[in-house]
Point group: D2
Chain length 412, copies 4
C-alpha cells in the first residue's frame, strides 16, 4: 500500500571492480546463477553500473575510449529468478522509472577507434572521441559540445531473459556462419564467445569456463529475447513483453542510457550512465504462443519529450554510397548517407565532424525508414530537433560560425 519504499533487488558499488561483483555478469548463458528472486507481480529497484563497468572517466581525454576493453562489456545486473516464469511464458516488464544514481549525475558518449570497436561511420571517422554530459534534472548538456541542451528520454539499452541451451546454440551457430562467410572483410562482423574477462556473478570456476566458451556476447540484440535493442523510446512508463526461455526467466538488465538517438550510431553512442531502474514484473502464462510473438514487443510510455513536428529538420538519405555506388534497397547504406547529410549541414555553425557524430548518437533524433520499395533506392530520414540548440539552426535563419571548442580526443 505504498507506505514504504520499494525493495532494492540489487545495489551497485561503483568503487569496486565490476568484474568481481556478485550481482553483475557480462555474457548471456542459462547457467549463470541467479542473484536473487523476484515475485510475480513484485516491483523492485535494480541498480546498474554503466555498460563498461567504469572504464570511462569524467575527464577531457579520450584515451580511455581508445583503450576500452570490449571483452569486459556489458556488465548487466542479474540474472534474477522471476517466480512462476516458465519457458513459453511472456515476462511483462513494466518500466516504472529510470534514474541516474543520485551521487553520479553524469554520463558519457564515445566514438571508439576503428580498430577497437568502431562505429557506423568509422570508415570516415576512425579516431576515438568522447563527450561528458552533466545531468540537470531531466535535461543534460556537455562542455564538449557547446550550445546544446535537451531532455533525456531515459531508458535501459539492454534487458532480456536468459537464452535456453537450444536458443544459445542457435545464436552461436548462425553468428559463426556469418563470421565465416565474411572472413574476407577487414572488420569484425560479429563477436564469438570469448573466455577472456568473462564474469558470471557468483558462478564457480567450472561455470565460468563453460560460459567463457559458450556464452553469447552482449553486443547484439537478438530476435529470440531482445537483449541489446537500444530502443530510445523504452523509457519511463513503457511496457516490454519478453519471451521466457528458461525456468525462472533469469532476467538481466543494464546499459542504462540517459538519452539516445535512433541508431545509436557511434556505438558507444548513447549517453551511458550508472543508474537505477524500477520494474514491476508480471508473468503472462503461455504468452508467447497466445500472442504469436517471435520477438519482444513494447508500448512506449506517456511522457516522451515533445518537440512539435514543425520543430524538426528532416534530412533525407538514399542507398547511393559516398563513392556514388548504387546499392539495392539497402536501408543501412541509406541511413549512413542520411547521417552524413546532417554532419555536412551542422558543420556550418563551427562544430567539428566528431562533435556532430557524437551528438547524432545521443540526442533524441528520429531515424525513419521512409521508402523501402522504390527500386533501387531505399530512402531513410533523420529528424534533428531544432529546439535542442540554443541558437537557431532553421534553414532560413542566419548562419554564424561560432567557437564550439572541442570534444575530447585521445592523446597521440
Amino acid at each position: 500500500m505504498g507506505k514504504e519504499g520499494i525493495r532494492y533487488a540489487a545495489k551497485v558499488d561503483l568503487d569496486k571492480d565490476a568484474g568481481t561483483l556478485p550481482y553483475l555478469h557480462n555474457r548471456w548463458h542459462p547457467d549463470i546463477p541467479n542473484y536473487g528472486t523476484i515475485k510475480n507481480n513484485e516491483t523492485v529497484k535494480i541498480e546498474c553500473v554503466d555498460w563498461t563497468g567504469g572504464q570511462i572517466g569524467n575527464n577531457d581525454s579520450a584515451d580511455d575510449m581508445r583503450d576500452v576493453d570490449l571483452t569486459r562489456i556489458h556488465y548487466l545486473t542479474g540474472p534474477f529468478e522471476i517466480e512462476t516464469a516458465e519457458p513459453g511464458d511472456l515476462l511483462l516488464v513494466d518500466i516504472q522509472d529510470v534514474q541516474p544514481l543520485e551521487y553520479a549525475p553524469w554520463g558519457f558518449t564515445g566514438v571508439f577507434a576503428k580498430e577497437n570497436g568502431g562505429g557506423f561511420l568509422d570508415e570516415i571517422y576512425p579516431k576515438p572521441a568522447k563527450a561528458i554530459w552533466d545531468f540537470e534534472g531531466i535535461h543534460c548538456s556537455t562542455r564538449h559540445i557547446p550550445g546544446v541542451k535537451f531532455a533525456g528520454l531515459i531508458h535501459p539499452g539492454i534487458l532480456g531473459c536468459a537464452p535456453s541451451a537450444e536458443v544459445l546454440e542457435t545464436w552461436n551457430t548462425r553468428e559463426a556462419e556469418l563470421i565465416s562467410a565474411c572472413s574476407h572483410m577487414d572488420r569484425d562482423v560479429a563477436k564469438p564467445p570469448e573466455p577472456k574477462n568473462v564474469h558470471v556473478g557468483t558462478g564457480e570456476a567450472a561455470i565460468k569456463e563453460k560460459v567463457g566458451k559458450e556464452g553469447a556476447r552482449t553486443i547484439p540484440g537478438r530476435p529470440e529475447h531482445g537483449g541489446n535493442c537500444d530502443i530510445k523510446n523504452l523509457s519511463r512508463g513503457s511496457k516490454v513483453y519478453l519471451p521466457v526461455h528458461v525456468e525462472g526467466a533469469k532476467f538481466s538488465v543494464g546499459d542504462l542510457h540517459f538519452s539516445q538517438g535512433d541508431g545509436e550510431i557511434s556505438f558507444c553512442g548513447a549517453i551511458e550512465m550508472a543508474g537505477v531502474i524500477t520494474i514491476k514484473f508480471t508473468v503472462i502464462k503461455n504468452g508467447v504462443a497466445d500472442m504469436g510473438l517471435k520477438s519482444p514487443i513494447y508500448i512506449p510510455g506517456p511522457v516522451e519529450p515533445q518537440f512539435g513536428p514543425g520543430r524538426y529538420i528532416y534530412f533525407e538519405g538514399f542507398s547511393v554510397d559516398e563513392n556514388g555506388k548504387q546499392h539495392y534497397l539497402d536501408a543501412t547504406v541509406a541511413y549512413r548517407q542520411t547521417c552524413l547529410r546532417v554532419i555536412e549541414y551542422l558543420r556550418r555553425y563551427g562544430y567539428s565532424d566528431y562533435q556532430i557524430y557524437l551528438l547524432l548518437s545521443c540526442a533524441p533524433v528520429q531515424g525513419h525508414i521512409a521508402g523501402i520499395v522504390d527500386i533501387p533506392n531505399a530512402c531513410t530520414t533523420l529528424g534533428v530537433p531544432i529546439d535542442i540548440f540554443d541558437f537557431d539552426i532553421s534553414p532560413g535563419a542566419p548562419v554564424q560560425k561560432r567557437d564550439m571548442g572541442s570534444c575530447a580526443y585521445a592523446s597521440s
Copy 2:
C-alpha cells in the same frame, strides 16, 4: 490580399487517357518542355492524377492490380518553370495544402504480383491484392479491411526538379552498373530507361524518342533531387528544400497519397489518389552551397495526427532472416522481419495476411531504425497505432477472431 481564390497551374481531366494530356509526363529528363511558368514567391494549386493514371478502379477485383502497366507510371504534373531559379539554387516548396479531388473521394492500396512489380514481402506474399479506401473528411476506411479507420497524413509521394543532363547521366550509369552486377538475381533491381509508353507532355516526337532512351524512371527517389521519396510526413504545412539543376527548375509533382506507412511496404502501398496540392514556391539563391545540401531536407507541418506514445504497439525486428540466416547490420532485412512480426500478431483477430500487408503499407505506422551498430544485428521497430482499430488490439486485451471479410484478389 486573399480576395480571390488561388490560381490553378494545372487542372486534370480524369476522363482522358493520362498518356495524352499536355500537363503530365512520366519520366525525368531536362528536355521535357515546361507546361507553364510560376513566379518566384507565387502560390498555385496543381492537380494531379493518381500515380497509375487511372489504371486502377473502385471495385472488388485485383485484376487491374495484376495487370498494371509499369511502363506508364508515374504520371507527374509539370514540369513548371519557376522564374529566376538557376542551377545551384534551392527551391523552397511550401506545401500549404493537399486534398483529394472533391468529386473523387476515394483511393486505393495495392499489392502487385511478384512477377509484375512485386513488393517488400513478395517472397512470401506473391499474389496481387487491393483495398479501396473511402474518404470521410480527414478520415478514411475501407470495405476491404473492416475495423480500421484513421486520419490521413496527406502528402505528395513525388516532388522534385528536373535533373540536368549531367545528373541524368550519373543516374543512368550507376543504376546500369547495379543492374549489371545483379544480373544473377531473378528480380528487377532497378528499372532502366524505357521507350514504351513514355509521355513527355507537349513534347514533340523527337523529344519523346530522346526521353524514351535516356529518361530516368520515376520509381526511385534519388539523392540529387528527391523525387519519389515517399515520406509520409511531408504533409500540410511542410516545407521542402529542393536542389535546382536546370534553368527554371522544371518542378514536377504527383503520386499523391492520402496516407502512407513508413516504408510503404507493398510498393503500391500508400492510399493512392488523384488530388490537388497548393504550393508556394520560393527561390533561395545559391542555397545548395550555402546550406551544404547534397539531398533535400524538409520540415514537417504542425498538424500531424496525434497518437499518444502510449497508444502504439511497437514490434521489434532484427537482421536474422526468416530462414534463420544472420545478416550483418542489414536494416532492410531487419525491417522485413519487423513487418512479419506485425502480421503474425494481427492475424489473431481474423485478418488475412494480405489484409495486414496492405494495412501496414498505408496506415500511419512508425518505422524506426533503433540500433544499427550492435554487430551483427540491426534492430528496427515498427509502431502500430492502437487507436486506428475499432476494437482493442492491446497485448492485455481479450482476443476474439472476427469475420474480417476479404481484400480484393485477382481472378485466377
Copy 3:
C-alpha cells in the same frame, strides 16, 4: 462507396443579401421551417456565410466594425430536419472537415465599439478595430499584425438543434430576469428577443412575426443545446453530441472560424469567415437519458496543431482587478487580468494594445482555469505559443522594438 462527391445540403451565395436567403436564419425558434432533410447516417456538406452575413469588408478601415448591425447576426445555415431524430435523442455530429470557401480565402477579427457590442476588455479598449487575415492552406497571416503566422484550428463557432417551445420559454424567462436584475448596469448583460431584422429562411410573415417576438438571440451558448459555444478545439475530426428537443432535430450551423483563442475575448474575436463544413449525422436514440447529459459533450479531433509544451509562455492572472480590488474566486476577473498581462508583455515589441487584443482573440492561445479554490483568489493562465511569431518572444531573448504598422481603425 465514395465514387462520387458528397451531397451539398446548402450552398451559399455571397453576393446576395443574407437576410433574403432561404437557407439562412438568425434566431433560435422551433417554428422556423426546415430548409431540407438529411438522412440518419448521411454525410453532407453545408456552406455558411460569415456570422455577420457580409457586413465586414476586406479593407483597411474599421468603420464597418463600428457600424455593425447586431440585430442581423448570426446568420446560420439550416435548420435541417434529421430523419428519425426525436426529443430525448442525441444527435452525433461528426465534423469530417471544415474549409474556407475556395474563392474567398480570407477572414476578419474585430473589436466592436464599447457602445455597440463591446468585448471582454472594453472598459480599457473601447474603440473599434479590425484585422484582415489571408489564408495560405492551413496557415494564416495578416497585414494588420505583422510578424505573426499560425496554422488555424478551423471550427464552427455555432452548432445546435432548435429549442422546443418549453426550452425557449426557459431561456427567455431566465435571461429576462438577469436583464431586470442588472438594470442598474450601464451595459447590455443579455439580448432579449428582437423583431428588427429577424430572418426565418422560407418562413412566412406570421412565423417571422412570432420568431421576432419569441426567438432566442444567437449570441450566447446555452446549456440545453450548445449553440454559440465558441470552442476552439471543435475542429476537423471532432465529434459533438447534441441534445435533440424537437421532432427532426432542426439542426443549424454557422459562425465558422479559421482560428480562435480560448475566450474569444474581443467578441468578434475569432478569424471569422465564410466556409463549408462536412458533417456526418447519426441519431442516438434516447441518448440524453442514457448518457446523463444536460449539455453537449465533444471529443476533439486528432490533428490539432502541435506546439510542444515547452513552446508556450504562460501568463498568470488572479481575481484582483486593475483597480486593486479583491474579488472572491472570480475566474472571469482573473482571466481578464491574465489577458492584460499578455498585452503588457507583448507591447515591448512594438505592437499596439489593440493589435495584441485582436491577436489574443484569434490565435490558438490556451486559457486554463488553474486554481479555483484558494480563497479568495481564482488563478487562470493563458499560454501564448512562441512559434507563431517570426521573432523570438522568449523571456530570455533580446527585445527589439519594431515597426509593427497598425491594425485597422474606424475613421473619426
Copy 4:
C-alpha cells in the same frame, strides 16, 4: 562538472512535528529569517513535507480530513536567501526535477467538510472524504477509486518570494475589504492573519508574534508574487519567472503535488505528498521592469504526459447555475456546472459522486475557458482523458455498472 550529487538546501524529517522544524514556515512575511543561502546560478535540492505537515494518514478513514487544522497549513520549506537578488529583479526558477520521497511513495486527495475548509462543490458535497494514492514510478493508482491509473504531472503547488512590507500591507488591506464586504455570506471568503499555530522557522518569539498578526496566509495565490498558484503544468523542466520584493528574494516552496486537475476543485484536491524538488536559481537583474511583469510567467516543461486530442471527452458548462439562475459571464459558475456534468456522466459506471469529485480534483483534466464574451453565458470546458480508465468511457462504448468500492469517509 557533475561529478558529485547536488547539494541539499534542506532535508525534512517526517517523524517530527512540522511546527517545530527550523526549515519550515507557514505564513508569508518579510521578517521570517532565512534558513540558508543559495548562490546565484546554483542548483540545489529542497525537500518538502506535505502541505498539512503530516496531519493526514495513509488509512481508510477521512476523520483526519474532517479534523484538519487549517491554521497550520501550508508548511513551506525556506525561506532561502538567493545571493545578489534585489527588489525589482526576477528570480528564474528552473524546476529541474520533482520527486516523491523515496521512502514515502504515496499521497492523498481530500474533500474537506463544508464547515472546515470546504471546496468548489461544497454546497452539493459537504462531507469530508479521502483517497490514498500509491505511486508506481511515474504512475499512480488508488484503492479508493478503482479502475483509474495515470502518469503524474508532478509539480509544486506553491512557490514564491517573500512580500515586502508594502506588498504585504496591500494584501492585508484588500483582503480585509473583501471579508468586510462579504460579511453577509455564511462562508469564509478569505483568511485573515491568524496567530494560532503560526510557525516562523528559526524566528524568535517577537518575530513569531509579529508574523502572527501580520503574516499573509498561504492559501491564495496572489498576483504580486505567485504563491499558491496550483498550476498543474509547472512540472519537471518548467521555468518560472518570479518577481523579487525583498533583499535576497527569500524564496520558499512547498505543497508538492504528484498530480492535479485544472481548478484543483476539492481544495485539498491535488495528490498531496512529501517530496524533493531540484531547482536552479538565476537572478535576472531589473527583470520586472524589463519584461513588464506584474505577475509571474512560466514556460512548461517538455515532458507532459501525452493524451492525443482525440483521447479526451470534453464536457461543456455555462453560467446558468443548478437552480436555473442566469449569471452574467461568470466563468466560476460555468466551471462548477462543467464539473457537475462530469459527475453525472461518470456516475453510470458505479462511482459515487464523492469518488468522482476527488478524481476530478487530481487527475490531469483540462479546464478551459472556451467563450467569455457571448452575453450572458460564459462557457467553460473540462476534458477528461479517456485513457486513465481501465475500461472504456467513450460515449459510444457499452456501459456497465461496476462495484467501485468506496472512497474513505469520516466516521459519524
